[in-house]
Amino acid sequence: MAVREAGPEVAQPDAPRRHPVVEWLTTTDHKKIGIMYMITAFVFFLIGGLLAMLVRTQLMFPSGLFPLNTYNQLFTMHATIMIFMFVMPITVGIANYVVPLMIGAPDMAFPRVNAFSYWLFPLGGIIVLSGFASPQGAAQAGWTSYPPLSEHLTAGSSPGWGEDVWVLGLLVLGVASLLGAINMLVTIFKLRAPGMTMYRMPIFVWTFMVTSILLVLALPTFSAALMALFVDRNLGGHFFDPAPGGGGAILYQNIFWFFGHPEVYILILPSMGIISEVLPVFSRKPLFGYRAFIYATLAIGMLSFGVWAHHMFVTGASYSPFFSVMTAAIAIPTGVKFFNWTATMWQARIKMTAAMYFALGFLLLFLIGGVDGVFLGSPPVDFQLHATYWVVSHIHYVLFGGAAFGIFTGFYYWWPKWSGRFLNERLGKAHFWFWFIGANLAFMPMHIDGLEGMRRRVGTYLPVFADLNRISTVGAYLLGIGALIFVANVILTARTPRTAPDDPWEANSLEWATTSPPPPWNFTSVPRIRSERPVRDMRLAAATAAEAVAAEAASPDGEGQA
């Protein structure tokens, strides 16, 4: 077991200096690991985004552009990359960097396990992507990979090893996520600074804690399903054999969605947490209903285990009324969060930074994604909308408008803390407008063509849908331009001097109480924690002290105002 005590005694100031490359490759510093997570995940995001552009290019034309099996690889790998190699690991990266800081800890509980989890991530990603080198191409059965299709692409033909490396790579990524989640939970439970009680933790720490619990309890079923697919494909197994005596095709869907629905919350909860950090800071107000928000997060976590078969209404193989009741129930805490966020802005003095733009974009886009998802929770309505572009629209409003906007909110917000430099605000706002307009252009028309029967995962479609699809494609290209603006922003500001102070936003949580970027082991001294906004308390105390000094200086002869 790679266990090392996290503590300042491990840092030896007189240790021989290592080459920076060696230093980064062997680091166990949670901040460096967090940055490596984010860089790796961002590279995968660019690859996945490129695939999305290709998918949308195919759909400019009703009869398509690429060979159909290539097209199936494009959308399968786009979803796989975005879910498992972008959103999940990048939130892990952000949490890796900021959670120990937020709770006043010097590092994660198990720094070497942390490094190990990170290195499994690029390994698993490369294994999944290596499928493109297979003669039959990469996995092409969709990210849900339903058997029997994922076991025999065409009856009687060899399915190639693209699907096998997809399975193996995701198993590796699963182990990485599981170890990371356990590490995060132990860190949150055991390494909080004195005074940092559970109900003083920043909301981001809460949401990431629930995310980690969901990972620990949901991910193993996915690993089991992947392993069973592997046995069926390579050892002649009958786990999902539709014939009597096998487990049947529906078994996979039950196991997969038992993981798959908590997974949706694994993807969105960290972004909800980021928004709950950023909105109060730029509103100059506390989060409205801190406790209610925590209870809503816990309720979502619990209910997310009871809604999985709402993905299976049209199979006719699940008891739909139960799952639709649970689905309606899980919408309530999500609604509560919206009202809390909105009320936080009431009578505020909102500072319109790029981070705040993205946070507002999150609220508006995720609201659409939440509302159009409620339709899908009604079994009869789902009979029409299931597996159409309505669902594609819904997941993109939730995962792009929600998760990705939340992630980029975090980028603009924490960038000075991570790098010591500010991102260019004007470019950041340009990035926002490209993404906000692009997302609505790309995903809003999908509601209409989905309702009218445009199916998802098709490379060719009826010409009546061509106009709506072209609007979506234009929107997707705008998203691509927005991503390039972000890359340009990072490159252009990388040469500017490190001017960021400790607390540029007048923020609330502990990561702003140390330098930007923080030193090894994070804090020279941790401030006193007496509320959920310790850095604000510190700032107010300092202001009061300064006033007292000024008043004293001013009182004798009216000078000292300068």
Partner: protein, 362 residues
């Protein structure tokens, strides 16, 4: 604590919300005429969808409007100093309970309508006829079981390459669909019915629908809605509702047409067959009895797989020969073993309803 609720921005918000609801009602009238439904269940589900849409628009306008109005109204303005006068509101219990309970009532009311409608859609009245639907990669096969005589297979292809087989159905009476899969999961989806149901191997799914009389004489697209491999997108069919008398007439003529057997005579042991635009160049092939023959098979459909497989009968239960799939453009030679004299059936396994014929051995 309630004082801040009655502040000026609240009134402005209320006025704005009222105007937005008005606008959305206009929008609603526009969208409500969008999709056509051809079943009674479909009509009702469509109305249910509209109820959800109204609720969604109200929520979008109120909550989305609040976000935008707050963001604009409460932004920091240049020249106004942050003098720390921002009220530090930590919460408001009564308000929070209210906005938990009201959405809950809304959601569960809608859910009540949904579950009622779910019962309606799932009701299984005694059917006047049953259609056996089989999905396989990447085609549909339909057979009518009308109670009298043996079942009738659909052989007609809709015009145009991608419309698939035509499913004629009588209006005004309950039709039961029994769904089976020969390979992977498919999904039987007719957007105009506002309905789909998965076609799952190892399981028989069924549902009953009554077509609206006004749909008779029109044609509606249907397709597979569950990813089933390379040609999933092209796995289409066409629903063609007919009046009950027209349907009976069609059924009788189709039955007598299929009863006539096509025939042809053998001419040597080297046969040739071409596939183009998802059709065979010949619907009758003949071979001498007891001698192996070769079929020079040319697939001219670029990117589309075809093959030739010979079965003992159109039911395609017993395979006599199966040629491998050839993705066009490509020419392959199939070596068919010696067969005893008889009348057999050949088809392309990928497109069995469009590409088939009689294989005569004399």
């Amino acid at each position: 604590m309630t004082k801040w609720l009655s502040a000026a921005p609240g009134r402005r918000l209320a006025r704005l919300a009222g105007r937005a609801i008005l606008c959305s009602l206009v929008l609603l009238t526009v969208t409500s005429c969008a999709p056509v439904t051809i079943t009674r269940n479909g009509d009702e589900v469509h109305h249910l969808w509209m109820a959800y849409l109204i609720a969604a628009i109200v929520v979008m306008v109120l909550e989305g409007g609040a976000i935008i109005v707050f963001a604009v109204a409460f932004r920091a303005r240049r020249g106004r100093r942050d003098d720390g006068s921002v009220p530090q509101i930590h919460g408001h219990n009564r308000l929070e309970v209210t906005w938990t309970v009201i959405p809950a009532i809304l959601l569960f009311t809608l859910l009540g309508f949904s579950l009622h409608e779910y019962e309606q859609v799932n009701a299984n009245p005694a059917p006047a006829m049953t259609v056996n639907v089989t999905g396989y990669q990447w085609q549909w096969s339909f057979a009518y079981a009308t109670g009298t005589g043996k079942s009738l297979h659909v052989t007609e292809q809709a015009k145009g390459q991608d419309q698939g087989p035509v499913l004629y159905l009588p209006v005004g009476e309950p039709i039961r669909f029994e769904l089976r899969s020969a390979d992977v999961i498919h999904s039987f989806f007719v957007p105009a019915m506002f309905y789909k149901r998965d076609v799952i191997p190892g399981r028989v799914n069924m549902f009953t629908q009554v077509l609206d009389p006004s749909s008779a004489g029109h044609r509606y697209p249907g397709a597979c809605a569950e990813l089933c491999g390379m040609f999933h997108g092209d796995m289409r069919f066409t629903v063609a509702p007919l009046t009950q008398s027209a349907f009976q007439a069609w059924l009788n003529s189709e039955r007598s047409r299929q009863a006539k057997t096509t025939s042809c005579s053998p001419d040597g042991t080297h046969l040739s067959l071409t596939a183009q635009s998802n059709h065979f160049s010949s619907t009758c092939l003949a071979a001498p009895a007891g001698k192996p023959v070769t079929i020079a098979f040319t697939n001219k459909d670029s990117g589309t797989p075809h093959n030739v497989a010979i079965y003992s009968s159109p039911a395609a239960t017993k395979v006599l020969f199966r040629g491998q799939l050839a993705i066009g453009p490509k020419t392959v030679t199939f070596h068919v073993p010696a067969l005893p004299a008889g009348t057999y059936y050949f088809r392309c396994d990928v497109h069995p309803t469009a590409m088939h014929g009689t294989f005569v051995v004399k």
